[in-house]
Amino acid sequence: MTMIVIFFSLLLHNTILFYPLFHPKIVFAQDGSPQTAPQVEISRNDYIQKLNDYRIKESQFFVATEQYKQIQTLAALEDAVKASKDVQLARIDTLTAYFQALRDTMVALKGAEVTKKSIQVHALQTTIIELEAVRAQIIKAQDRIALDNTSTQYQSRNVAYIATAYSALSLIKISNIQSATDQLGFITGQVFDQLQASSPSATVLSEKQRSYDELSRTIADIKTVLVAVMKRVENIDQQNSFNSSSYSQIVDTLGQGFSKLQLAQSFLKEFAK
């Protein structure tokens, strides 16, 4: 009886402790999903929070101005002035948080040319400093006229803010495709090297060589599209005329490169089999 108990204990011990080690089917794979930089996440969450706050202040402002229009009393004017100050501060805070999120995304960006990246980071940082100055003016403003003036100032600068944002967004989109294309080219080279090292038959090598050439051509096509888009972005930047429309055109052109990237990815999956 004691022997049976000992045997069962050993069996259980071996099964629990050593079964996973000897059994090749059990694999504890690591999660391959890319980790987003924490700073980028923090700044994006902050931006969303500020935008929600702005929406509340905006509706309060509309209520206060509507009351002032209707009753035209000093108390209503004071409420409207306070609401205007609050909403303008919330607007500046939202925009500042947005540009900070863009700047952090740009800093963490892979695949971007270093010079272009630093130019964009500098432009975003300059805009953030400018917005801080505007914020200080809003805090100083005490009456309706001063607050309406700061609002006018904001409106006149809005086009420049939009241009800075879309220029940065364009570079982010180009760099994302560039990064994925570089990675695709690197993996393709690795797979082909492994294949050659395994000394395959002439038929297999010939077939794989054709696939490799096709992949290389597709990667070259993507790079051509990216160069063309980058030139276009530079032209728009020089004219300082970036807006949602020009950004949409950039996205459309990038779509061709992205389609080729997806095609190349499917080629690579076949090639690596």
Binding site: N14, F18, P34, R91, Y98, A165, A180, Q183, I250, G255
Partner: protein, 135 residues
């Protein structure tokens, strides 16, 4: 007459009582039979040391086979010398690296979709005036 004048005075003890039905004769038989059956059952339930050894050996053999199947010892024969842990071969490593690289590429391709913009310019009202401007 001879019955009533029996000289043996203790015989009535063994005689049947008048006006009483004679007890069935087979009353004693079941006792004898059940005793026999009990003896047979007791004999059947009695486990000999030989049976115990056989059961133990049988269980041991079955469990040994199970253990060998689970640890894969049976595939290459029982190795008495300590088996070195299998070192990862370069091919396995390369394959897992390749899989990881492919996964990363897949994530990057998804993130590279230009039509997806997770940071569009904020929808802010640029005309926030207490008294609207007259253009």
């Amino acid at each position: 007459m001879s019955e009533n004048t029996a000289e043996n005075q203790t015989q009535f003890m063994e005689d049947q009582t008048l006006f009483q039905r004679p007890a069935p004769m087979q009353v004693t038989q079941p006792e004898q039979v059940s005793l026999g059956v009990k003896q047979v059952i007791v004999q059947k339930k009695k486990v000999t040391p030989k049976t115990i050894i056989l059961i133990v050996v049988g269980v041991f053999v079955i469990l040994s086979i199970l253990l060998m199947m689970m640890t894969g010892v049976g595939k290459n024969g029982l190795q008495l010398s300590p088996k070195p842990s299998p070192s990862p071969t370069p091919i396995t490593n390369t394959m897992s690296d390749l899989d990881k690289a492919m996964n990363r590429l897949n994530q990057d391709v998804i993130a590279a979709d230009p039509t997806v913009n997770d940071l569009p310019f904020p929808p802010l009202n640029s005309e926030l005036y207490i008294v609207p401007k007259m253009n």
